[in-house]
């Protein structure tokens, strides 16, 4: 029995009725000079790239020196920002209003050359060459699930170090890759580290050393099986690859850990992006929990593509009933096709709104206190700075 015994129907202290979530103050976030990194994350197709570009542009026009790192922008948006080329270098975006003293650079991530750069910076030229030419490396650097996530974080680390050193930027906005799951990029450095520490790798590196000796019989079985399945050439390539990479791995691991620490640092803010859909909000919820678990600073949730609030007060049911009455009059010869259509349209919007409100309420009930900005769906696609400015205004509207 709880201390509040006599009060019937009381819910437990951990359950709460959904209240309103606090509003996310976007301008306070991007104006704060302490904010150095903003990471936008969320599942695919929720408008992450647009949100990060809009945040970056708004911050720049409010006086910050900003660089935005995007992963895979829509072609026309990329063109309007002048980053069609994949050259891994931030370029100034034209037509940004610099009257407040800010600036905006943008770049699109080139996964492979980022990986190559790391190898080149960590290994001797001969060793680097051996790695870059190894078939395992080529596939790993272009298509391993996770490489893109890891490289986005790597690039963030590079730009950050550079910005610290030379004062080039005071705010970095990062878009995260359209992962299978929004969590992938947080795990990427960890996954790489654990891969490097994997038993198999250590075995391949030192088959005859120390305790591994005891396992030699087992190893014979393993290599035998691998040869049977993969063929001998593959195994040789693999051994060369592992041996070559091992020398640069120490560096890799340290970098991965530094980036992870950077993400936990006070100057970093995560913005979780979602759409008012069950899957996207579920991903967002996982992400919020994960960020808390990893002690990563969460700034808030952005819900994109929300149905806009209607102006008049007319419920979906009333609208549909009225539409039916109009149809009845029409069959008796009266006009009203347009009005009936308008009413059905309105009912549709009201139903979507109700569904979205229920989804958001569910999120808020489970994650109270997460500051939220709701951005209404725009009638047309965003593909220029004007559109980004508009999204920025909507983001900051409280």
């Amino acid at each position: 029995m709880s201390p509040a015994g006599p009060r019937q129907g009381r819910v437990g202290p951990l359950a709460a009725h959904p209240g309103e979530s606090p509003a996310l103050d976007v301008d306070a976030l991007i104006d704060d000079p302490q904010t150095r990194i903003v990471v936008c994350c969320g599942s695919g197709g929720v408008g992450k790239t647009t949100t990060s570009a809009a945040l970056a542009l708004r911050a720049a026009e409010r006086g910050r020196k900003v660089v935005v790192l995007t992963i895979d922008p829509a072609r026309r948006l990329a063109q309007s920002m002048g980053i069609e080329e994949l050259d891994n270098t931030p370029r100034p975006v034209a037509d940004v209003d610099a009257t407040a003293g800010g600036s905006l650079d943008a770049m699109m991530l080139d996964m492979k050359s980022t990986f190559d750069e790391v190898v080149l910076s960590q290994a001797t030229p001969e060793k680097a060459k051996a790695i870059l030419e190894n078939p395992f490396y080529i596939v790993l650097s272009t298509s391993f699930a996770g490489t893109q996530e890891y490289m986005a974080m790597e690039k963030l680390g590079q730009i950050h170090a550079d910005a610290q050193e030379r004062g080039t930027y005071d705010l970095i906005v990062v878009d995260t890759p359209p992962s299978r799951s929004a969590l992938d990029f947080l795990d990427a450095p960890e996954r790489l580290s654990s891969f490097l520490d994997g038993r198999f790798i250590r075995l391949m590196l030192a088959p005859a050393k120390g305790p591994a000796k005891l396992m030699t019989a087992g190893l014979g079985l393993v290599t035998g099986a691998l040869t049977k399945v993969l063929g001998a050439q593959v195994l040789t390539d693999l051994q060369t690859f592992v041996a070559a990479l091992d020398t640069v791995f120490g560096g890799f691991r340290a970098r991965a850990q530094r980036t992870y620490a950077l993400l936990q640092a006070p100057g970093t803010a995560f913005v979780v992006v979602a759409a008012p859909e069950p899957d996207a909000l579920r991903e967002a919820a996982y992400f919020v929990e994960r960020l808390n678990g990893d002690r990563m600073p969460l700034a808030g949730l952005v819900v994109n593509r929300a149905s806009p609030e209607p102006r008049g007060k007319l419920s979906a049911e009333e609208a549909l009933a009225a539409a039916e009455r109009i149809e009845a009059r029409r069959s008796a010869g009266a006009t009203g096709e347009l009005t009936a259509g308008l009413l059905r349209l309105h009912a549709d919007r009201m139903r979507s709104l109700a569904r979205e409100a229920a989804l958001r309420a569910r999120f808020t009930a489970a994650h109270p206190g997460v500051a939220t900005a709701v951005v209404p769906a725009l009638a047309s696609d965003v593909h220029d700075l004007r559109g980004l400015r508009r999204v920025g205004e909507l983001l900051a509207r409280r």
């Binding site: 197709g45 596939v139 298509s143 359209p178 996954r191 891969f195 399945v229 063929g231 008049g312 009059r329």
Partner: protein
């Protein structure tokens, strides 16, 4: 209506994230099952989206019966409906099963696991993950005597990775080409490619009528064709309802709707009208007209893709199991199944 794809045994469903590819895969499976086919729907991205869609427990690595097709014909007396089984394929289980089925590795198989080879192969060894996933799908389509007592399916639907990755995912021999030029894995991959490139496979692309997804669909089709993979249909999902007649759309877009007439008609059916309400309705109509115009321009692009297209309406209340059957019926009527 008869199916546009009568010879297809493997339906691969891809699409940009957020376009509803799992929804389409699930309703396609139901649509096929309502024609008496026994269908397997596979998921490979570890999301358990199918389980949520069909409202069942998370799927294991085992074919699980999750639904029955619609009854068709008058009084539901038509074709006896088939079943839908679902399978969640994860690379670790697929690899162990593969090794057991083809190599009878016995002790060595266990050693592989103990030495972390399985983990290595499925997490980081490039391309291997995809080959294991597609390999299991291949096995389900082309069952042989090695898998004793397994169900023979009339069709397999794959809820595949997104458009940006689909060609690479299916193009297993290319993906392995850099790694294994000869050897048993290579010949396995080649056999799989023969199926994937044959008319028994169709890769369907799901899109919504927005700029980026349509562009990605066009790019995806080009890539698939370049790789010799058979492009199926384009499923246009989440289409807005067409509640307004065309002439009204034009007027709404120009902000020239006859608000007085609307107000009079609303009054006539007892809706208490205010200026705000009528202005609000006109503004909603204008928004809608703008989006419809955008959709129409994207639809024109979709029509130019030169592949059969299918359309599913946006369900304002979201998707539930009933909604899935509804979409399945639409897909069947349009000939995707």
């Amino acid at each position: 209506m008869s199916s546009d794809w009568p010879r297809v045994r493997l339906h691969v469903v891809t699409g940009k994230g957020g376009t509803g590819k799992t929804t389409v895969a699930a309703s396609l499976a139901l649509a096929l099952a309502s024609q008496g086919k026994n269908v397997l729907v596979c998921e490979v991205e570890g999301r358990q989206g199918l389980a949520r869609m069909f409202d069942v427990d998370p799927l294991p690595y085992a074919e699980t019966r999750i639904a029955t097709g619609l009854r068709t014909g008058p009084d539901g007396a038509g074709t006896r409906p088939g079943t839908v089984h679902a399978l969640h394929i994860d690379p670790e289980s697929a690899l162990l099963e593969y090794l057991a089925m083809y190599y009878r590795l016995g002790r060595a198989g266990k050693a592989l696991d103990r030495f972390g080879v399985i983990e290595f192969a499925t997490t980081i060894a490039p391309g291997v993950r995809d080959v294991l996933l597609t390999g299991k799908v291949f096995e389900a389509v082309q069952r042989n005597s090695r898998n004793k007592g397994a169900i023979q399916y009339d069709a397999v639907v794959l809820d595949a990775p997104p458009t940006g990755r689909i060609t690479q995912f299916l193009n297993v021999s290319d993906e392995l080409a850099g790694l294994a030029k000869v050897g048993p894995i290579k010949s396995q991959a080649d056999t799989m490619m023969t199926l994937f490139r044959s008319p028994r496979t169709a890769v369907h692309l799901v899109t919504v009528l927005e700029e980026m997804p349509v562009q990605e669909t066009a790019d995806g089709i080009e890539e698939l064709r370049a790789a010799g993979l058979p492009v199926g249909g384009v499923i246009v999902n989440l289409v807005r309802p067409r509640d307004l007649p065309d002439d009204a759309l034009a007027l709404a877009a120009a902000g020239k709707l006859d608000k007085e007439a609307v107000r009079a008609e609303l009054d006539a059916v007892g809706v208490s009208t205010t200026k705000t309400l009528v202005d609000g309705l006109a503004a909603e109509a204008r928004d809608h007209a703008e989006r419809r115009a955008l959709e129409e321009s994207q639809r024109a692009l979709v029509d130019q893709l030169g592949v059969p297209t299918y359309e599913l309406e946006r369900l304002a209340g979201g998707i539930d199991l009933g909604g899935l059957y509804d979409l399945a019926a639409t897909l069947r009527d349009q000939g995707l199944a």
